[in-house]
Symmetry: C2
Subunit: 273 residues, 2 copies
């Protein structure tokens, strides 16, 4: 996975969605490596949650973005499988409702944020408002252009409040998307996932890649960096996102709180109860 340097652009066309830029070299090794992350991830998550019970406000927000079929939902399922789901707050953002459209675009995002001690996961996010909104020209260009700065200020305020913001672009190729869309069509029990509208979005592939490149360039900040994860291979994508999450939890290094009570006295009272 590539961390997009703050203030710099990224040439998505030069990054292969099938690349294995770091880590395990094949599927078996990748799955084994990912399985080994489960223990450390679960322990760090428990420590994060435990610390919040005595006032530590730190928490994590993992933002997943990518083209249709890039594996956002699959990543959520996989990552949560390594964690305690009770401490996770998952939100899948769809097209805004009438109520949501009546508010500033960050309103629904703010409502879905993780609370102290939690790991929040966004399947789509505030970035839809500079992606589909840009490609489909849903808002005037001047308003759209202001949104990048609004997002940066919003994410900076989150970071100041103890949120580790981790943004991942799942980078797939148009060929892989075609394979996945055809599979949805050709498998009866997957057909419900197919939306004919996906064909029209696919036709705008290069416009979306440009919109992504712009979002990554303008919104990869020190407070909330963007990472590009090659996602044509699901096992690599799972390993990469799990590894990023683990590294960020290790940086947080949450600690179990000291007990605010007398352990021996409590044991005596318990045994007498």
């Amino acid at each position: 996975m590539l961390r997009v340097p703050a203030g710099q652009g990224v040439d998505l066309g030069a990054l292969s969605p099938a690349a294995l830029p770091a880590g395990p070299a094949d599927k078996a090794a990748g799955q084994a490596a990912t399985a080994r992350l489960a223990g450390p991830l679960a322990e760090l998550q428990e420590r994060l949650y435990a610390a919040s019970t005595t006032g530590d406000r730190r928490r994590v927000l993992l933002v997943l973005q990518g083209m249709d079929t890039s594996g956002k939902g699959g990543t959520v399922k996989h990552v949560i499988g390594l964690l305690n789901p009770s401490g996770c707050r998952i939100t899948a953002f769809k097209a805004p409702t009438a109520e949501e459209r009546g508010h500033p675009f960050l309103w629904r995002i703010a409502k879905a944020l993780p609370r102290p001690g939690e790991i929040g996961i966004f399947d789509r996010s505030q970035y839809e408002d500079v992606l589909i909104a840009r490609v489909r020209e849903l808002v005037p260009r001047s308003r759209l252009d202001r949104r990048y700065g609004e997002i940066n200020r919003f994410e900076e305020s989150l970071a100041e409040d103890g949120v580790t913001v981790l943004k991942v672009f799942l980078h797939i190729s148009p060929e892989e998307q075609l394979r996945r869309l055809l599979k949805r069509l050709d498998t009866p029990e997957k057909r419900w996932k197919f939306d004919p509208g996906d064909i029209e979005e696919r036709a705008r592939w290069s416009a979306y890649q440009e919109a992504y490149a712009l979002a990554l360039e303008r919104c990869s900040t020190a407070a909330a960096p963007w990472y590009v994860v090659p996602a044509d291979r699901k096992w690599y994508r799972n390993w990469a996102v799990s590894t990023l999450l683990l590294e960020h939890l290790e940086d947080i290094d949450p600690r179990y709180p000291e007990p605010g009570f007398d352990v021996e006295a409590c044991r005596a009272r318990l045994l007498a109860s």
Copy 2:
């Protein structure tokens, strides 16, 4: 597990929390039997979600109640481990906030309900308002007594709207609770889970058992039955709750929707894209 007959009482003292009233006879068999539920559960959950995308409003609400350390959190973790977490809506209800106290007691419950296609899981619930509220005399008796009927009408309206309400009382013994509380105290990385207030709640054991018996008697209805699951053995509890969930999903029998588009035409458009 025992289904509490509608309109009848249940003698909790006569039900052993260590009993194995049905199903596998030992831990190894229980864990194997539970693992075999994962496939059918995941498929039914996917069908439930798929059906909601074309207007099926059906959904499931699993309510977990029980004394401290009875395993509500552990059950959530285990059950979600068998499901796709993206389709689950988990809520752990704590002591009501100032805002929640300013509303009727069902207000925060209604806000946390699963949406069509989802499986909601409540770790504690509306029943706290007739359990701790009764034992601790938090509200006048007349107001408390009205709440059972309010809960029944609320749950009936949920059932009419397509919610399968499944309420589980995790039945543990005071001896097992003592073991679990001591383990929290004696294990440094579990100590943060210990709350000295638990000792005071434990001292009211029989008052809580009476309050539970009353809630089970008054609120086990045809629309929303109560089940008593012996919970001294975690493997049995996990098997029993997973089995109950599977049975209720089988009753719902959700179906993949028929595609609302021409599959062949879409395939041709895709291949041309």
